[in-house]
Each structure stands twice: as structure tokens, then as C-alpha cells.
């Protein structure tokens, strides 16, 4: 084992670029550790944990770049360093579509694009609020992808946005579609009459994807950030978003997506719904049906249900079936016969947080006792993140797994290690996986995992078992990754590709329960 640590002074790169680069390097043969990061205190302590914090690295400041590699041979180390150089150098040369190079300040950006109306902000959380405030003061709508913004700052920003009549989507907002333009993590969705306001990124993705699959479309999909319905924020952005969609002539039906909010916030939202003359679907996962229906809104307990309800409100003649198709039933029947008695549990490894929550809700409704790191109920909370027991659903994009690493939607390979572990467990009856397509996501998410999936299946066979895998591809036919090709790769590896996260979850339940649908 050999290692090398280099500090480049005054060479700032954004963390998304660096983390996905680190992810790519780690995936290379012979590489034990590879960290390319700015020398923040957190990154330095992460380096310390893997014994790569040299004295020079310790002295480095937030504007300095650290490249640390540990690998089997000097040659591999040099190879990695060359890759880093190429990746970061190419980035510098990058010029924008209209020929204007990148700029270094907000005034310069406005000079270069005087008609700008939206700022997408993905800077480290501690600085994000300041950038967002400046953007709002310049009259720009804001999509704030950054997380780790204090709740006080969030409130201040949202009040400022409210005063100025500007969107403040976020902090921690992963997805939005404004005027058919996908921002950050978003799918290519048909245009239509449904307007969405969502406090969840993958929740928004799934609802919009399912609407698209039903042959309908959306006007706008406004993200609010996960904390908007927190009591301290009071749903400012969801209320503003709903009002904007109520005023928007193109929007016929409004869909709200969130985890169930605290009672006072829910009351505020429901109160506002009363004033809206358009139909409203409230998709509060595991929410309060009675209260919602009492204000004349339609309640949807799951994401798929929100999409279906919205479509049937837009077009009452739409044919919507929640039945499983025969092919799926046949497949379940066939694989169930191949399971050993010991194979009893669903193991779900998700990239999408709200997809994990939806799966949990669906499995619970079918009587399964599930543990998960997204659970809110005490009895469902997972004890040990690194050990799955019984039915387990893991959101691999949660902070628990992503500290100093890219999100698995950007770098799906980071899920592979856990995938093999779950596959080796003789109690695993079925693996449940999601893959997100669309803008922001990896260019070939299935390709990053497919070899490992094949390996997992083979290992099971070698151990005298059969391992069924159900996957869901959250994406549309027009997404940039080519849905059909992604699907094909999974099918060829013997993975069952479900048409929704809900269907994938239901199939997994059926397999684990060894039930054969009538």
C-alpha cells in the first residue's frame, strides 16, 4: 500500500464536482482511499480518520484543494493523480453554451445575463443563506439546493421572498420544474394541467413521473425544501406556491406533497385550501385523511395515489388501474417457488428518501413489520445501520451514509457494497432497489451497479439460493439517460423492473410473504 497527499493552494472547486470525482476514483481497481476535497475542518477530520492528514494538509485552508490517494502501487497513485488533473482541468476550460465563460461574483453574473430570473444555489450550507439573500435582493427567484442552512435563516429568506413575490425553493430542495425546465434533480415531464408543490425531492420526481406515465402532464413543480412545513417555518413556501398555482391559468389541479406536518401548520395549509377554487390533492404520506377531506380536498396516502387522484381530477374519463398486471403476478409466483424457507425478508436499498418512506408505508399497510432509517414511529426505527434485521429499508442517501461522500443519485456505485452484503444474507428473500433518472442524476445509474447485481445473483446461486431482485426506474422515456436502455440492462440481468415504486414495494411484499396472488 502506498499513498500520496497533495495540497493545491487557492484552487477552489465545488463539492458536488469533487465528491463525484472522489466516487469515480474509489471505484477504480487498486484504489483503497481517494479523497479530493476542499480543506474544510470536516474534510480534514475525515482525512484524519483514514490516516491521510499530513501536516501540510492540516495547515491548508478552505480555499485549498487536498488530493489524497492510497492505493496498491505507486503506478495506481500516479494514474489517479493524472485523472484528477484531467477532470479538474477540463472543468476549468468549460465554457457555457452562449460562449460566456464562468464568472466569479453575482454582479458579474447579472452583467453577463441581465435578464436572469432564477438563481440555483448549491454552495456549502454555512454560506448559502447569504448568497440566497443577495439573489433575492437582486429580484431573482431562488432554488436553494444547499442543505445545512439554519432554520432561522430559512425563515428569514422565505419571509423576504414572500415580501418580494419570489420563490424560495429550499434549502435542501433537490427538485423543481419551472416552465418545463428541470432544475437540479428532475425528470423530463410532459406539459399538462397539474401543478405540484412538494416538500420532498424524490417525492416530487415520483409523482411527476407517474403523471407522465399515465399520459398526462404538469404546469409547474415547485419544491419547498424538506423543512417548509416545520412549525418554525409554517409552510410559507407551500402556501405561496399553492397561491401562485391557484392564480396560474394553465394549472387546473394542484397537488401538495409532504410528510404530515404538525397540526398548526396543517391547519394553515387546509385553511388556505378552502380558499382555492381549483381541486387540490393533498399527498401527505400517512396523513390525516379526515381533516383533509373535511376542507374539500382529495387525500392521497402515497405518491402513486397522489398522481392517480390528480390525473382523475384533470380527466375524469382517464383509465387508472391499481391492479398488478398478470406478468408481474406470474413472475412472483415463479420466483416464490425457488425461495428457501429461510428467505423471508425484504431488503430495500434506496437512493430516494421519499421512495423509502412510500415503500415503508405500503409494506406496513400489508402487515409487515419493517425497520428503516427514515421511520418516524419508534418501533420502526432501525437500531444498527450497518446490520439489517428482518424487513429493512435503507435510504442510502441519508446523512448517515453520505458524510463526505456523494449522494447515491449522483454516484450509485456507493450502494454496491451494501448490495452484496444483503445478497449474502440467507434470510434475504428479495432485494428492492430504486434508480433515479433525469437531470442531475448519474448518466448511467444502472450501469454503475449492474455487474454487482449479476455478482450478487451468482453468489446466491453458488450458495444454493435464488435471489429475486425488484427494481424501480424513476424516470420517463424522454429522460436524458435513455429509459429503455437502462431497463434493458436490468432485465437482461434477471431483475424485475416495476412500473412504480408502489408496485415494486407490493411485489417485494408478496415475495417475502410467499403469497401467490389469486
Amino acid at each position: 500500500m502506498t499513498s500520496k497527499v497533495i495540497v493545491e493552494k487557492n484552487a477552489y472547486h465545488d463539492s458536488v464536482t469533487l465528491m463525484s470525482l472522489s466516487g469515480k476514483l474509489l471505484a477504480k481497481d487498486g484504489v483503497e482511499e481517494a479523497v479530493v476535497s476542499m480543506a474544510t475542518e470536516m474534510n480534514k477530520s475525515l482525512l484524519g480518520n483514514i490516516s491521510l492528514l499530513t501536516e501540510e494538509a492540516e495547515q491548508a485552508t478552505e480555499n485549498d484543494l487536498i488530493i489524497a490517494v492510497k492505493a496498491d502501487t505507486d503506478e495506481t497513485v500516479e494514474q489517479v493523480l493524472r485523472l484528477v488533473d484531467e477532470a479538474l482541468h477540463a472543468r476549468k476550460e468549460h465554457k457555457s453554451g452562449n460562449g460566456v465563460k464562468s464568472v466569479k461574483t453575482l454582479p458579474a453574473a447579472i452583467d453577463a445575463l441581465p435578464e436572469a430570473n432564477m438563481a440555483v444555489i448549491s454552495v456549502p450550507g454555512e454560506y448559502a443563506a447569504k448568497e440566497a439573500k443577495q439573489a433575492l435582493n437582486q429580484g431573482l427567484h431562488v432554488m436553494l439546493f444547499s442543505d445545512n442552512v439554519t432554520i432561522e435563516a430559512e425563515r428569514e429568506l422565505k419571509l423576504l421572498g414572500q415580501e418580494k413575490g419570489l420563490l424560495v425553493m429550499g434549502p435542501d430542495c433537490g427538485t423543481a420544474i419551472i416552465n418545463q425546465v428541470g432544475l437540479c434533480f428532475a425528470n423530463q415531464i410532459n406539459q399538462g394541467g397539474i401543478g405540484i408543490v412538494a416538500a420532498s425531492g424524490t417525492g416530487l420526481q415520483e409523482v411527476s413521473v407517474q403523471i407522465d406515465r399515465l399520459g398526462y402532464g404538469i404546469t409547474q413543480a415547485i419544491g419547498t425544501g424538506g423543512r417548509d412545513l416545520h412549525q418554525d417555518i409554517g409552510g410559507i413556501m407551500m402556501l405561496e406556491g399553492m397561491r401562485a398555482l391557484a392564480d396560474d391559468d394553465a394549472t387546473d389541479v394542484i397537488v401538495l406533497i409532504s410528510k404530515p406536518p404538525a397540526k398548526p401548520v396543517q391547519d394553515k395549509i387546509l385553511n388556505e385550501i378552502k380558499k382555492v377554487t381549483k381541486p387540490v390533492v393533498v399527498g401527505f404520506l400517512d396523513g390525516d385523511r379526515e381533516a383533509i377531506e373535511a376542507v374539500g380536498a382529495t387525500f392521497a396516502p402515497t405518491l402513486i395515489d397522489a398522481a392517480r387522484q390528480a390525473v382523475s381530477l384533470v380527466d375524469p374519463t382517464a383509465t387508472i388501474s391499481s391492479e398488478l398486471d398478470q406478468a408481474a403476478i406470474d413472475w412472483v409466483e415463479q420466483v416464490t417457488h425457488n425461495l428457501t424457507a429461510q428467505q423471508r425478508y425484504v431488503r430495500g436499498l434506496f437512493c430516494g428518501g421519499t421512495l423509502t418512506s412510500e415503500a415503508l408505508s405500503i409494506m406496513r399497510a400489508r402487515g409487515l413489520q419493517v425497520k428503516s432509517n427514515v421511520a418516524k414511529k419508534a418501533e420502526e426505527k432501525i437500531d444498527n445501520l450497518s446490520l439489517s434485521v428482518g424487513h429493512t429499508l435503507l435510504d442510502m442517501g441519508d446523512d448517515d451514509f453520505t458524510k463526505g461522500k456523494p449522494h447515491p443519485m449522483i454516484e450509485p456505485a456507493l450502494r454496491n457494497e451494501r448490495l452484496l452484503i444483503e445478497a449474502q444474507d440467507p434470510e434475504t428473500a428479495v432485494l428492492l432497489l430504486d434508480f433515479e433518472l433525469g437531470y442531475g442524476s448519474h448518466d448511467d445509474p444502472v450501469g454503475e451497479s449492474i455487474e454487482v447485481i449479476k455478482q450478487a445473483k451468482q453468489q446466491a446461486i453458488d450458495a444454493g439460493r435464488y435471489l429475486p431482485i425488484v427494481a424501480y426506474l424513476c424516470g420517463t422515456e424522454t429522460d436524458k439517460q435513455d429509459y429503455r436502455k437502462q431497463e434493458q440492462k436490468l432485465k437482461e440481468a434477471g431483475v424485475y423492473v416495476a412500473s412504480s415504486n408502489e408496485m415494486a414495494s407490493r411485489l417485494a411484499c408478496m415475495i417475502a410473504n410467499k403469497e401467490v396472488a389469486k
Binding site: N98, K104, A108, L113, S122, L183, C184, I410
Partner: protein
């Protein structure tokens, strides 16, 4: 007040702040967008960020800075006279030698500065040879001081000794004066630390033949308008720091008739005008005091965060700020210049950044105006596009645009001027300087030219001191 739903009727145009990946996906969707390569303000230093928060959007500071740039722009420098330093420079005396950059002691000076001081002591007749001169310099008998603290500036070593004739530049708007020696030309010259006999002989000639002739010519004139020459030269490919071809020619055109009006001996006259004609950097030593007279006028405005001095002594880089005391320098080790070397020289031969000529960048010309001076790009390395980028970037760290000094290549936009320490710290963008490089050993001369930046630390210290001073005052 706008309403959120109004954006639904507009074409989306996006500023992407941070992860460039999101911008790539906007390009895929054919959306107009611009990438803002964000960096942590103030290098992520919490103490600086806290100070910045207090200093930004501060009305008194904004007003003071507007006043500072108004003074800089309004200043109208004329060359009015040439006189021995000791006669005109305030505080100058027979045993005092001025040098470039922030204060420094003899032991700590760089090679070229020491060489030039030795030359100056021999020239003054205070020493007969190098050893004697060095001993005298060490003895403590000679007082050394920064030219910048004496309304004066000097290129490279920037040595001004009592008998040296200095151009007297008068800022007729504000009434203050600035001083600078006569440029000796290229090759073996005092400002690069050369002190051989021919150097001393030339200095003597300047004192005894050239200066009286120029004085006589200037007496015929009503002063030579330097603001006008600089302004025109900027439209003729000069940036008036490293390229002075056009400005020297313009000066020559202005002064020549006044020379002819004097009753000077014809052969002296021919030598004098040939000296100007053959030295294409003649105007540097007029450009610099012209800038100096404008910036001195803008010094001492309470609450102003505008930089009024940037100067280097070959060891340290120093800046001064309008709203802080005149004697308060913020210094850090000078950087090495990056650029092209003359044949036979390499980086190992160069002294660190040296000279007061950065007064031109402080004024908003020199490196700041490089976009209008494509010819200089060849000299310092890089491409014309880089030069334009540099000039454009400087708008991010300055208070205003000087329409008197406009840049043709930027559609005649007024040059960026009035460096604001807050903006430098906030954006991490440093002023850009183009400059010559001196050999680290005395007397060898220029080894190349290139681009250099001040150390960031100068601006950090200035910002903290500034915040401490004015917050203290407000709390009283």
C-alpha cells in the same frame, strides 16, 4: 411588488451558483444560464466574514468611497517643473534616501535596492566606492524612508537621493504635488541596482544637462497636461505601466516646441531630446507621479475602504487604505512574478516583486487596463483574451469606472478603479499587476516581465484593522 406566478409567463434564465453539473443540465435543455464559480468569501475565514458582514452595505463607507473615486477621477495632474529632490520633496534632507515600497531597513533590503543605494551614495559624493557606500548605509547615518510617504514614487528600487532631479507634478484640482525621478532607460540602470561608473555618469548628466533643459522648457509652458496624455495613450495601445510607447511619443510632441523656445545650446538640446526619444519608458516616470497625485488626494477620507497605495520593496508588498492612517501599511512577503524571461535568465534569477509602479494599477491603469493594450500581452506572456478577462475582472473589486481612462477593447467602458478592500476579501479576486522583473543581484538589470498579484494577507489585515477602528468609533 411582483407576484410569484409572473415567472410562469417568462423565459427561464438561470444563474447557477456552485455545482457546475447543474449548469450542464441547463445547457442540455437549451436554457440561457451563466455559471458563477462560487468560492467561500474571505477564504472561509470566519473572523474576516464577520468583519465583512459589518462593513458591507454600510452607508457611510459607500459615501466615503464615492468621494474617494470622485477625487481620483477629478484629479488633474500637470508636469510643471523639475527640481532637485532635496529642494522640493517635503521632509527630504541631505542624508535621506527614499526607496520604493513599504518601510524597510538596510539589512533587510533586496539586492537591487542595496545596489541602487550604493550607487546613489556614490552619486551624491557621500562615498567613493562600493565598500565605503555599503559601510555608510549600514552605519545608521543615512535615513531610509518610503517614497510613498513623501508624495513621491519610484520604479523598481525607486531610489531618490537628495541631488536627484525629480519631475514635479501638480494636481491642479486639489493643489497637491507628486514627485518622481527621470527614467534612465533600459539596460544597466540604477533602478535595477546597477551602480557602475556609466550609471553614475548618466545620473550626473541628467542632473547637469537634462534637468536644466527640461526646466527651461517647462518654464515656457503652462505645464504639460498628463491626464490628457494618459487618456489618449490608453486609446493607442499603452496601459502606461509597462507599455509607454504612445504616451512617450505624445509627451515628446507636447514638449518639443517648448524645448525649441529655450536658448539652449544646440548640441545639448539634441542630446536632451534624443534622450527622451530613445527611451520609450520616459513617460513611466510621469505616469507614476500623475497617478500618485490623484491617489494622494483621495487619501485620508474617513470610512473609505479604497486602496490609495500598492507598492513593493522587493521583500514585502504593502498597501495603504484611504480611511486609515497614512503611516499604516499592511504588508506581506512579496510574490514572485510569473511570466516570460529574457534569454539566459530563469525564475531562479528573479527578485521578488519590486517597485512603486503599482501606483498605476492602484489608479486603474497598468494591469487593470491590459485589455486595451494587446501589445503588452506578448511581453508578459498569455493571450489577448486573458488580458481582456483581467480588465473585466477588475470591475468586481473596484468602486467605479473611470470614463476619463476608457478602454477601447471593452467598448470604451471606463476602466475599473478605486480598489475596495472589502470586495477583494469578499471575492478572493486580487488586483492584477503587470510588471518587469529585476535580477535578484544588484546591477544585472531586468530579467523578464510578467503578471503578479499582491498577497491576499495585505487585504485581510487591512480589512480587520479597518473594521476594528470604525466599529470602535461607533461604540464610543
Amino acid at each position: 411588488m411582483s407576484r410569484i406566478d409572473q415567472i410562469f409567463q417568462q423565459r427561464l434564465q438561470v444563474i447557477n451558483i456552485g455545482a457546475a453539473k447543474f449548469k450542464e443540465d441547463l445547457d442540455l435543455q437549451n436554457i440561457d444560464s451563466i455559471q458563477y464559480d462560487w468560492r467561500p468569501p474571505a477564504g472561509g475565514n470566519p473572523q474576516l466574514i464577520e468583519a465583512l458582514d459589518w462593513l458591507q452595505n454600510h452607508e457611510q463607507i459607500e459615501m466615503a468611497n464615492q468621494e474617494a473615486i470622485k477625487r481620483i477621477k477629478d484629479a488633474h495632474p500637470y508636469l510643471v517643473d523639475i527640481e532637485p529632490a532635496v529642494k522640493v520633496i517635503p521632509g527630504m534632507h541631505a542624508k535621506k534616501i527614499l526607496h520604493s515600497g513599504p518601510p524597510i531597513t538596510w539589512e533587510n533590503m533586496c539586492g537591487p535596492a542595496k545596489g541602487a543605494i550604493i550607487g546613489a551614495l556614490i552619486y551624491e559624493g557621500l562615498a567613493d566606492n562600493e565598500q565605503e557606500a555599503a559601510r555608510l548605509a549600514e552605519s545608521g547615518e543615512i535615513e531610509f524612508a518610503p517614497a510613498n510617504e513623501h508624495s513621491a514614487v519610484g520604479p523598481m528600487a525607486g531610489i531618490i537621493s537628495p541631488s536627484m532631479p525629480v519631475h514635479v507634478v501638480e494636481n491642479r484640482t486639489h493643489g497637491n504635488k507628486a514627485y518622481c525621478t527621470v527614467n534612465e532607460g533600459l539596460g544597466k540602470v540604477l533602478r535595477f541596482g546597477a551602480n557602475s561608473e556609466d550609471v553614475i555618469t548618466r545620473l550626473k548628466w541628467i542632473e547637469t544637462v537634462f534637468a536644466p533643459a527640461l526646466k527651461a522648457a517647462l518654464q515656457q509652458s503652462n505645464g504639460i497636461d498628463l491626464k490628457s496624455i494618459t487618456s489618449q495613450a490608453l486609446h493607442m495601445g499603452d496601459e502606461c505601466h509597462n507599455r509607454n510607447k504612445a504616451s512617450t511619443s505624445l509627451f515628446y510632441r507636447e514638449i518639443i516646441d517648448y524645448f525649441l523656445q529655450t536658448d539652449l545650446d544646440k548640441s545639448d538640446l539634441r542630446q536632451v531630446i534624443e534622450f527622451i526619444k530613445n527611451n520609450e519608458h520616459y513617460y513611466l516616470n510621469l505616469s507614476m507621479p500623475a497617478c500618485k497625485s490623484a491617489l494622494d488626494a483621495a487619501h485620508g477620507i474617513p470610512y473609505s475602504t479604497v486602496v490609495t497605495t500598492m507598492a513593493r520593496n522587493g521583500v514585502e508588498f504593502g498597501i495603504r487604505v484611504s480611511g486609515l492612517d497614512q503611516k499604516t501599511w499592511f504588508t506581506a512577503p512579496a510574490n514572485f512574478v510569473k511570466g516570460l524571461f529574457f534569454p539566459g535568465y530563469s525564475e531562479a534569477d528573479a527578485a521578488p516583486d519590486l517597485g512603486d509602479s503599482t501606483i498605476t494599477e492602484t489608479m486603474g491603469i497598468g494591469g487593470f487596463a491590459m485589455g486595451g493594450s494587446p501589445a503588452i500581452v506578448q511581453f508578459v506572456g498569455g493571450e489577448v483574451e486573458d488580458a481582456i478577462d483581467y480588465s473585466e475582472q477588475m470591475y468586481q473589486i473596484t468602486v467605479g469606472e473611470n470614463s476619463n481612462y476608457s478602454i477601447p477593447a471593452l467598448n470604451f467602458r471606463g476602466g475599473a478603479y478605486g480598489i475596495d478592500i472589502r470586495k477583494v476579501v469578499d471575492t478572493n479576486i486580487l488586483p492584477v499587476i503587470n510588471t518587469g522583473m529585476a535580477h535578484k543581484e544588484a546591477g544585472i538589470g531586468q530579467v523578464g516581465a510578467g503578471i503578479v498579484h499582491p498577497p491576499f494577507a495585505c487585504f485581510e489585515q487591512a480589512l480587520l484593522t479597518f473594521a476594528a477602528k470604525y466599529r470602535g468609533e461607533q461604540n464610543e
